[in-house]
Amino acid sequence: MATRGFFGRRPSADDAARLPPGQYKTEDFPVLSAGPTPRVQTDTWSFTLKHGPRPLASWDWQAFNALPKTSVMRDIHCVTKWSKFDTKWEGVSIDDLLAAAGVEAPTGFLLAHSFDGYSTNVPLADLVDGKAMVATAYDGRPITADHGGPARLLVPHLYFWKSAKWVNGLQFTERDEPGFWELRGYHIYGDPWREQRFTGD
């Protein structure tokens, strides 16, 4: 049913085709975080790949940055309704990360963990085949702390809470384990094109 007197401000046809349902385009890069911004230093930074509690591989900042780097340009979609087009990222793809670790994926599910205690779950299939990376640069520069620097997960085809800021590890889990927001009312998968914002969507 139409809302009385509402006609709206239409995006262009090009923009409309790129906007998932319920989203609007922004030129800004809003900051959304559940808590304060942690100040993560690169000299104490580390990233660990785990299977359950067992470490599979670990990198310090220098070793991590020696891995092959990939650049992508993607549209991103925040569950708070904004979308930002053509964001440019550089980092280590999860394909290259797994190859560098020399491991076959032991399960089909992962939890990303962050320095501030945040976590979020992403199925393996959504991280591999060029779909995701651990990003270390945004728009040609190191990622600032408020946007998740020095490194954040980037899974641009899912709502952006899946792209964990201040990421410090990926953990294979036996089942699809809900993370921080998934335990607090947000959707277990988070596909913007199916508008999977909240539990049950």
């Binding site: 049913m1 009385r4 509402f6 319920g22 809003p30 900051v31 959304l32 309704k81 049950g200």
Partner: protein, 260 residues
């Protein structure tokens, strides 16, 4: 059992209350009343005759337990939904909402206290829900609100927060104006700074707040949380909500606290 979807529902605007020259409260009566926790928000959806829809999220300013919810909407000159509310919506109109949403920036009486609230501009809205909840359900829980607004006539909920500070035990208010001198003695002038936060923390004596809720423009939240951590408030006990995008551009410079 699959989880239940939070359904869209019609909500009728039953009152419109001016808060400041650019901010109004919209009192909505949902067709299906729902319970919520102080600090949660709802999504609002508007539909044009051709089916085009716009969605936005708004914090709930009212306390849980009533048949209505209060949304506080600031007039943003480039705001598609905000301008619609300010220029078109009248009492009796219906909009679609769904909620409640958000499981982190929440306070319940079972969380106990002391609780520190820090708000900039319209960042006070979810904090107001917590203050009202406290007064109704847990008046012995110590609360303090550090609140900055630009000018005297731009202080959202001004009369109510000042009245609560006068009348309610265990509630301390530090209200400050950033763009003009305060016309009354118990309201400060200047931006929230380290001293104001330190003074406010002292009302809790030896105790640190069990939870601190900080809400406002991004720059405001970044600096306020940095100062709080520097003052010994544990990182893990601080919960934040930041306004991004256009709102941050409008509110940012005016409510940001300066570097210590």
């Amino acid at each position: 059992m699959p989880p239940t979807r939070i359904a869209w529902q019609q909500a009728t605007v039953t009152a419109i209350v001016p808060q400041t020259p650019t901010v109004k409260s919209y009192i909505l009566t949902p067709s299906t009343p729902f319970d919520f926790v102080a600090g949660q928000h709802v999504d609002v959806r508007l539909t044009a005759p051709d089916g085009y829809q716009a969605e936005r999220s708004y914090s709930i300013g009212s306390a849980p337990g009533g048949d209505t919810i209060e949304l506080v909407i600031e007039r943003l000159e480039d705001g598609e939904v905000s301008l619609f509310f300010h220029e078109v919506v009248e009492v009796g109109d219906a909009v679609e909402i769904r909620g409640p949403i958000g499981g982190h920036f929440n306070w319940s009486p079972s969380d106990a206290g002391p609780i520190l609230l820090v708000g900039g501009g319209s960042g006070v809205v979810p904090l107001m829900s917590m203050l009202r909840r406290r007064a109704a359900a847990s008046p012995d829980t110590p609360f303090a609100l550090v609140y900055s607004a630009r000018r005297w006539d731009e202080v959202i909920f001004r009369d109510e927060v000042m009245q609560r500070a006068r009348e309610e035990d265990h509630f301390t208010l530090a209200l400050t104006l950033t763009r003009e001198a305060s016309p009354v003695p118990d309201v400060r002038s200047g931006r929230i700074d380290r001293m104001m936060l330190a003074d406010t923390l002292m009302v809790f004596g030896d105790q640190l707040p069990v939870l601190t809720f900080v809400c406002g423009a991004t720059a405001f939240v970044e600096v306020a949380t940095m100062l709080l951590i520097d003052l010994g408030v544990p990182f893990e006990s601080i919960r934040t909500e930041r306004y991004g995008g256009a709102e941050a551009k409008i509110l940012g410079p005016d409510v940001a606290v300066p570097d210590a």
